[in-house]
Amino acid sequence: MDADEITRALRRMAGEIAERNGGAARVALVGIRRGGVPLAYRLRVLLRELEGRDVPVGTLDINLYRDDTATANPSPVVGRSDLHFPIEDHDVVLVDDVLFTGRTIRAGIDALLDYGRPSSVQLAVLVDRGHRELPIQPDYVGRVVSTVRNERVDVVLDADDGSPDRALVLEAASGDSGEVRA
């Protein structure tokens, strides 16, 4: 996906979020660190254009909720979560860049629920690449991409070097020079 395709997909997703939730009055966006955070902020801008209001945005670091900390070695660097608003009265949309096994989302849901009991939890992802290992499905998808399991999907947003936004599938073992398929 190039920058325009990403923007169009996000605009459609913002519309779907507003449609499903009857506007944006009770919607909150929670980006999963780190890839989901810039997407959550973009969705907020798009929701403001559609609905004329700013929804709260939070960030969630899921490392303390991983199911592989016992085997992860060395221990992952944990980052801070920032949920400064009460989630109780909100329909919380978890936002991530790539949906793969579903394990990150499982951890994200568990982490979120330790902050309170939202009215509902929904899931928005830019790329769904398949290969789920848990029964988790997205509510809002930018694009479904069929991948081989050991391929990599890279989403680049707001790159430091000013390079354009993009979502790429990289062939396995060919690293950053891999052939772009999506």
Partner: protein, 312 residues
Amino acid sequence: MSHGFRHLLDIESLDTREIVQLLDTAEVFFDVSRRRIRKVPTLRGKTVINLFYEASTRTRTSFELAGKRLSADVVNISVSTSSVTKGETLLDTIKNLEAMHPDVIVVRHASSGAPHYVSRHTRAGVVNAGDGTHEHPTQALLDAFTMRRAKGRLAGLVVTIAGDIAHSRVARSNAHLLTRMGATVRFCGPRTMLPAGCETLGVEAFDSLPRAVEGADVVMMLRIQSERLGEVLFPSTREYSRQFGLNRRVLAMAKPDAIVMHPGPMNRGVEIDAEIADGAQSAVLDQVEAGVAVRMAVLYLLAAEAGQSPLS
């Protein structure tokens, strides 16, 4: 990627990158303790043993809460020093604990070096919770965490540590950590309580509290241990308090925004006036809050490594 911590035995062997990683990780856990649900599932299925050969309420409780807020199973063992023969019995204890597959053992012991000894006989990660007059690394980390939150940095701070320095593992660990991070450390106490060779630690020595406090960003008072009162180190509590107690007049010599710290338990009216201990500049309870966060960070980083290495 993060650096692996096998044990936390002292500050002296940590480099600045490791210190910063511990403090940054503690920031995350600081937030956890302020949430409505003060618990994360991270160390589910891990076992932490608190093995305390010295009396402690604050440190043991802090480690216990840290373990529980990480969902580890925590077992406390308090052993009165009088009932053990050092050496062989400690080894036997460790062998017995080892047979129960702990992931982390937290050790406090009156003998300097005891945690290092324990670490050579267990697969578990070992945390030094205070060993004799040697080190108390988690205290130094929580002190640094408190200073960093209050001042936004460690480099360039002037930190005065006053009291019975020679016998203080807190002073020693703090000196290692703070000098490494670029702070200036001043030790202050009666000459009989200042260690030989302050220079090798990179600290300045003072025997006048007002001079030591002048221009300080942090004033840390150490407890005068009652068991040392009336000894030859200083003549009387009252005289000590007059010369080395922190009161409003002396604190006025420090920077206006200086913070006052104390590892506890405090002797009010001896090394610190009550009005200072409870005053606006006191960070004493911030230190206690930081303690849980720092110990969660230590347990988190050690538990990931525990059991991975063979018995050395």
